[in-house]
């Protein structure tokens, strides 16, 4: 039972990742592009967590943590750059 649920979740997040990729390439504004990149990093965390369940290993925890931290910091840095013309003033 859990395999099918896993594959369903894999498909959902994979298609979501493709939607985000579409939005990164064909974005109407630069804010949408930043948002789509942030969503890609969030979806990637979910995919890695699902991969960890599938292979029954806790090895991927640090990778998820790094994705969360770097995704957040890069999004805020990009937004700050667009707002103020500089990242660290």
């Amino acid at each position: 039972m859990i395999e099918y649920a896993l594959y369903f979740a894999f498909a959902c997040f994979g298609i979501g990742q493709l939607f985000c990729l579409y939005r990164v390439v064909f974005a109407p504004g630069v804010g949408d592009r930043v948002l789509a990149l942030d969503t890609m990093s969030i979806n990637m965390i979910a995919l890695i967590a699902l991969f960890g369940i599938l292979h029954d290993t806790t090895m991927y925890f640090e990778i998820m943590m790094l994705f969360a931290l770097v995704g957040f910091v890069s999004t805020v840095a990009y937004a700050k750059f667009l707002l103020r013309g500089d990242v660290i003033e």
Partner: protein
């Protein structure tokens, strides 16, 4: 007991996958820059939280030992999602609204992103196009 644990984890995975899909689909489907913020910052965050809780339960029931690692990541994501939403909303306002349109911020100063200390952003040249787009949506 094991059956119910599997049922719980499967239900959480399916729900989380659905919410993650809706969050990413909203990014493509919704019509407006500001409405497009809603999908990823709310639905996708809930989806990822669901997957992480399901992973936590899986390792608690079927793994060698249980840990609270995944809860840490879920908590971090739930804390940071509103902040990214706020920052991107400010970017959208900065790029598509002119300073006169913004609501008064209650003090004698103007908004910090348009103040004297703010350097001219590289993207300011597109402000006029964005304004037209926003008028069109209204």
């Amino acid at each position: 007991m094991e059956f119910y644990a599997e049922l719980l984890i499967s239900a959480m995975l399916v729900l989380a996958g659905f919410f993650g899909f809706v969050g990413s689909f909203g990014l493509v489907k919704l019509p407006d820059q500001m409405t497009r913020l809603h999908g990823p910052t709310k639905a996708a965050t809930l989806g990822v939280g669901g997957v992480l809780i399901a992973s936590l339960l899986w390792f608690a029931f079927f793994g060698d030992h249980y840990s609270w690692h995944e809860l840490l990541i879920a908590l971090f994501l739930f804390l940071t999602a509103p902040i990214t939403g706020l920052m991107i909303a400010k970017v959208n306002m900065h790029l598509t609204w002119s300073p006169d349109e913004l609501p008064h911020c209650g003090e004698d100063k103007h908004w910090a992103t348009f103040g004297n200390s703010a350097e001219r952003s590289l993207m300011d040249s597109t402000a006029e196009d964005g304004k037209d787009e926003r008028d069109h949506h209204e």
